[in-house]
Amino acid sequence: MLDFTPHQKADAQPPGQFYAVGGAPLCVRQKGLSVPSDTVEDDWGVLILKVRDNQDKAAFAALFRHFAPRIKGFLMKSGASASLAEECAQDVMATLWQKAHLFDPTRASAATWIFTIARNRRIDALRKSRRPEPEDLPWGPEAEPDQQDALELSQDTERLGAALALLPEKQRQLIERAYFGDLTHSEIAAETGLPLGTIKSRIRLALERLRHKMS
């Protein structure tokens, strides 16, 4: 496999600096999860945990500024009008606030988790049908996410984004068409050429640990 270096967009800087005072290294402490911000590639996940634990509106605003425009763009590329996409993007962000307790950074990065909420909102808005979701493993008080696992998954997801950007145009378009709704399920070609194996193994391990903690 190629060694992809994670790239960062100008507007995708880690938001930790919002909260650092006087340039001192910031350590965000959560219930059972502490992540020093200067070692994290992408700590949007930490902001979701701040929303969950402290109902932190500044963290929510930072998440909104980054993700709402992307949710809106995703919905427009999927066929929604600008006004419907705007409305749904706001709904998705409100859902994030409401369902922050379901976010598990060892099984999904912030972007991945928000994508699943946006996708479900799209099915609801454009198809007006229900979306059955798998039974989930609940977090007990003893089963807090492991910060190292969360960090590694976040880095793998960064690498996936970088690999996606480097795909041949034709291959990338095929994936986009699947996710933006241009293809029926029988037209979807699941061979992506993307490094999905490491992310899969990472999530598998997180599920095993969770089941072990619950038993």
């Binding site: 992307r70 809106k72 996409a85 379901l102 999904a108 979306r131 039974e135 993307l194 899969k200």
Partner: protein
Amino acid sequence: MTIRHHISDQLLMGYSAGQLPEAFNLVVAVHLSMCDDCKSRLGAFDAVGGALMDDCDVAMAGDSLAATMDRLTRTTPAVPRRASSVLPSPLMDYIGGDLDAVKWRSIGMGVRQAILPTEKGATARLLYIPAGQKVPDHGHRGTELTLVLQGAFRDETDRFGPGDLEIADEDLNHQPIAEAGADCICLAATDAPLRFNGVLQRLAQPFFRI
């Protein structure tokens, strides 16, 4: 439970992308509830969706952050859905209860079915096949997903036990037989009518929506 037959990459990606008909989504969600391996694979496909969304930046309306802030409400976390010995929770949502709440209808030879309410385009049904019973042999005009919830069946391709998913398409003609010992309960979804080889079954087809 050892699951040997899993969701294909194509179906998982379709589920992640939100492109499957509701009846297929249901079968996939129920298998995922029983299978950590497929759940992890789905997580990887969801990550692709997240990465694609990252490139979709479109400006929001000027007042949208304030408008959203104004409507933030906190609901208390939902009580975990009750566990059942046979049925995973997404299926119970569609039945409106556990197995004892299923409204079975006989379709002949001891086989019973219950059609679940989903959007048009594909049909989801529960099938109850008595131990040792054969299902009429049939082919497929589209895709048929069959997920075993209890018991087991065999057909020309293999044995399917609890949690196993059989994906049948136009190329497969099969005659499933429930294994002796335990009655077999399956969740099945089709996006086109089956192609029965028997005349009687063909006549009964519209009536049973199969």
